[in-house]
Symmetry: D2
Subunit: 354 residues, 4 copies
């Protein structure tokens, strides 16, 4: 991956990726064959049984033009209890079923003595490059992505990111991390995005709006759609080892939107812009009714460094997605160029941007 512009001044973790948050793993299953350019990405908040050891989480729906499933329960109960899946819009049902089936294998009493499981699946519309109507993603693909989960993972046109577009360019999976220093401790904030949003002319790298030049080049290349509506969506997943509760994590998720805005997004009407933040600092057990659960939480007044880290990590993750993605040709010969292919002179463009 080309060296991407550096966002902000907070230090990154060793991987500059969401897996800098200990316990988090990410896996992909990529489908890249002619008109089928899609896939599944799975994020595991920890390596254990997520249903039995739930993870505190909060959600921010910046723009709800989206078909994600599982958010209602996260918003009510403040926990997630399945891996977090990313995929294309038409595959949400299939991937959700795969997550349910997978949870039942681990806990055969789910749906019997135990309650049912809340499968969390996010999506973006990759229909420009990918033949959505092929319904190519199967439950097996979802399981393969799960099995591939690791602290090291690819970015760009992989997994659920395979067919995604961003600012008229090739988008996809991006990740980054930032360290947040508080009087109590230094915490890690990691972001992973599925980036599939943005009008070409709006693209802004580290504050430099290079979009108009790129839009012109796209128009010249008749790759166009330069004037197309901001359609697509972005999913922003935020992990932290800071000890926060669900209410605080919702506040964290809101700040992902600040990072998103700085890349040039106006939260377009047709873009499902959704953020979810979770903490790995403690778990909420499925069975814990016999006693009080003691948790240690960060004082509200210490959240600012985490907010700043969230915004920076999110913006960096989007930029990383653009720089990691290779050009892809898919359905009906549609093509999305990598940023570095269309703009090998991006550094010069940034210098001269108004």
């Amino acid at each position: 991956m080309a060296a991407a512009p550096r966002i902000g001044d907070l230090p990154a973790g060793p991987r500059d990726a969401i897996t800098d948050v200990a316990g988090v793993a990410v896996g992909h299953c990529t489908l890249a064959d002619g008109a089928v350019q899609t896939g599944v990405t799975m994020l595991l908040p920890h390596a254990g049984d997520l249903f039995m050891q739930k993870v505190p989480a909060g959600v921010a729906v910046v723009n709800g033009f989206g078909k994600s499933t599982g958010l209602v329960q996260v918003q009510e109960l403040g926990v997630l209890e399945s891996p977090i899946a990313l995929t294309n819009t038409f595959a949400v049902g299939t991937v959700a079923t795969a997550l349910v089936r997978s949870a039942v294998v681990a806990q055969p009493e789910i749906g019997r003595r135990l309650p049912t499981v809340n499968a969390l699946v996010f999506e973006c519309n990759d229909g420009h490059l990918n033949d959505l109507q092929a319904f190519a993603v199967t439950e097996t693909h979802a399981l393969e992505a799960l099995a591939a989960a690791h602290t090291t993972f690819a970015q760009g046109a992989v997994g659920a990111g395979r067919g995604m577009s961003c600012f008229g360019l090739k988008g996809g999976i991006g990740s980054a991390s930032r360290l947040a220093r508080t009087p109590v401790d230094t915490f890690t904030v990691g972001a992973l995005v599925l980036a599939n949003f943005g009008r070409p002319a709006a693209l802004t790298l580290a504050g430099r709006r290079i979009g108009p030049v790129l839009a012109q080049r796209l128009a010249d290349a008749a790759a166009a759609l330069a004037a197309a509506p901001e359609r697509g969506s972005i999913i922003m997943l935020i992990a932290t080892d800071a000890p926060l509760d669900a209410r605080q994590l919702r506040r964290i998720a809101v700040r992902a939107g600040a990072g998103l805005a700085r890349t040039g997004s106006d939260f377009g009407h047709g873009s499902g812009d959704i953020a979810l933040a979770f903490s790995t600092a403690y778990c909420v057990p499925q069975n814990g009714a016999g006693r009080l659960q003691t948790i240690a939480l960060l004082h509200e007044s210490l959240l600012d460094p985490l907010f700043e880290a969230t915004a920076q990590a999110t913006e960096q993750a989007i930029v990383n997605a653009l720089f990691a993605a290779e050009s892809v040709t898919g359905r009906d010969g549609h093509r999305r160029s990598a940023l570095t292919e269309l703009a090998p002179d991006w550094q010069a463009l940034m210098q001269s941007a108004f």
Copy 2:
């Protein structure tokens, strides 16, 4: 169906069902074979292409312990654009995929030139009677329910209601309607519920709490679970021909919760209690960008009769579900008795209730 107690004093429509709202149709596909006691119910707000002619809608999540899909977009955009499906918890993904595929058949440009479609699927957990882990519901079942949609439809242990339990008794599908008189016009409010909630001891019919007696009988019959937590959920769909916008329809949906409370529900922790209200008075076109859309709306100060009708219709629909449902034996010999079987003396019980 046994004559059920009459709720409230507002007049009902001719069918006392949600299909009293002109254009609304309901269809079931019922699976009843040994351990498989489940199904799909489909509600069509109108007979046309819902994607091209969307329906204004609002949502109230009374208690979000639920796995429904499609709500995020309805809350943002204020319209629904697919049939409304009801099914068991593990079948949400499959039924959502069926709705997507069905929409694509009608509009082959969905996911290509047109955006993707937001499939709206609600669920309750029928795992006590039904073997959820059989994953018995297929896309074909969903399509069969769609094809069966009609203004006349069965209530009780049918469709998605086949395996549902309510107050420790057999629950399922119930419906009712009420007429709301305003200075402008008289409007119809229809309710359809998938009733799968309630502690036995809490059951309250028209204000008479007969639950304690029933709970005792259930305990004696070792059918028990009298002390079981309120788990299960209820989905409450409200239709009206009153001309309302999405914000007003959310207010309507909130009032379904008033009807629910009067049956004895405390909105139990494990019960996903969700209401959606839609209006058939006008449509929002998919393509309408070239001009302003003129709509005529009811003044806010005239909503009270509609609120009252909503609460009464919802309460009546729940009662109707209980009186319409036959006894069912399913997974592992689990059995849920019809209310009229366990309490043929329900009228006497109501008289003597404290």
Copy 3:
């Protein structure tokens, strides 16, 4: 106060009032002079400095036709940091200023080295009996209500309840409590309401709808307004000693709506129906940034007894308000009769209610 009908089967605390939750105190300042029939009621969650030791809290806006102040911050931060004030609609500003000034006296650095304070003031419209335009409530009255706070307090036509109407009858302040048994411990849930809502015909006591008879008597008495819209509002304050966080307390607050619905309310359009729940189990300190705060919380699956207690205590509190209130004549000779005056035969009416 006349013996009121008993709601539900959960045991009440020793006072059957919100002050059964240890630490809670309530004080009134009542203005009753001709056309001025109004006042202020203050609820103190604990006896200490609320700004320095904040109280976890959650809010449910059942119907937001209301002018309360302070809710935005409670919803974001999950704590309250001032006494909770109840008053008439036009007095919100004055009472809020009194709370700010009072907090500054206690902590002179508020608005200097310390942040500002979030004054929490709820209101109902007592304009039928009270001359709102007299702006009779002063900051001094607010301070008098604060100074009067005690575990023993009057109910009915007192404090903020002085001029309130409920179901066409005299309403006002009501309170009740219920004990909630969980495997961990037995907790107390207390409710205090400012009841100023309801169409006469809808009044329902313990499930018996006696409203139509009362509405007829009101009409005969030309005291009328029997057909008036449900205008007014109800504020429902819920206290508990159960250790819950803000998210859980919001869930508690939602259940106050279930109790409200059972009295006959459809959450009328013009009725600001708002519930706030707080826990006395722990405090969130203003200054705590140096270390993590350890709190012990109840497991989510144990909330059901608290939900049931909340609904019952709220319904009982409303009923108690009606039975405690004396008849009041106010502005322009407007009169609201006590329930027991208009219906000394209320027990017979309940027996014969459909």
Copy 4:
């Protein structure tokens, strides 16, 4: 006012101010005397009686650490019915009372035959420069601001902006407008902000982060607080002549947050960041119960140009506040420097910013 950097590429209206939206007027009352550096700003959506002719509106609470009043009802009913007031945190109650009294003068039946009025008052904490505890703002000041409302109005350290700080510099009132071209028509979007937020090091002008240099200069000047938490708040008012309903206006308000983020805000914990958007395209009458109200609305798919205009106008309004504000010395000799005083070389700083 110094020429400020130009944000974005959309054209501005003739005044580059919120009053480019026809009918909107803004008035100030400024208090500047020693330790009292504060005031009131009033925005009138139209020149008529706002209670009788309400204005559709939507709210986005980006960060709810704020004490504004009136939002609950706007969120429920989707209209505003009073002028929009801005002031300091401790003056909210007084200014709200002034608005109520003013509405009663215009409509003497408010609180009698008519419902009460929802006063809408926003606030920021100007306690660094202003002696909040002086409670200097009176009802008369609020009325003076109302009386001063005009299409031409001052920006910077005036009205409610008198004592506000922004990025450690002098903040206050800023305004801007942008034209949004849609296939139906070209609409105007205007923004007015009360800017009182931001860490000095985060200040970003048109994408160039010049904050670190300014923070160093502030530190050198011992004017300091460079490391102070982001405390304060920003109120963002958005006006448009586009015909939108309350749901759409909430979506508009959300986009104000995108503009805010681009100036360097991470929506700090202690910053009450609240946006309200309203449309002047039509009114909702207080009395309209006798017939349906016909309104013509913009199709959802045409919102993108308005979103872009909102983000740009908001960012520009914040920048304008910084460039318009003069240096102010207030309480205890506290001083906030104008940006142009601390950084007369701001253009060079922008060139060299990383």
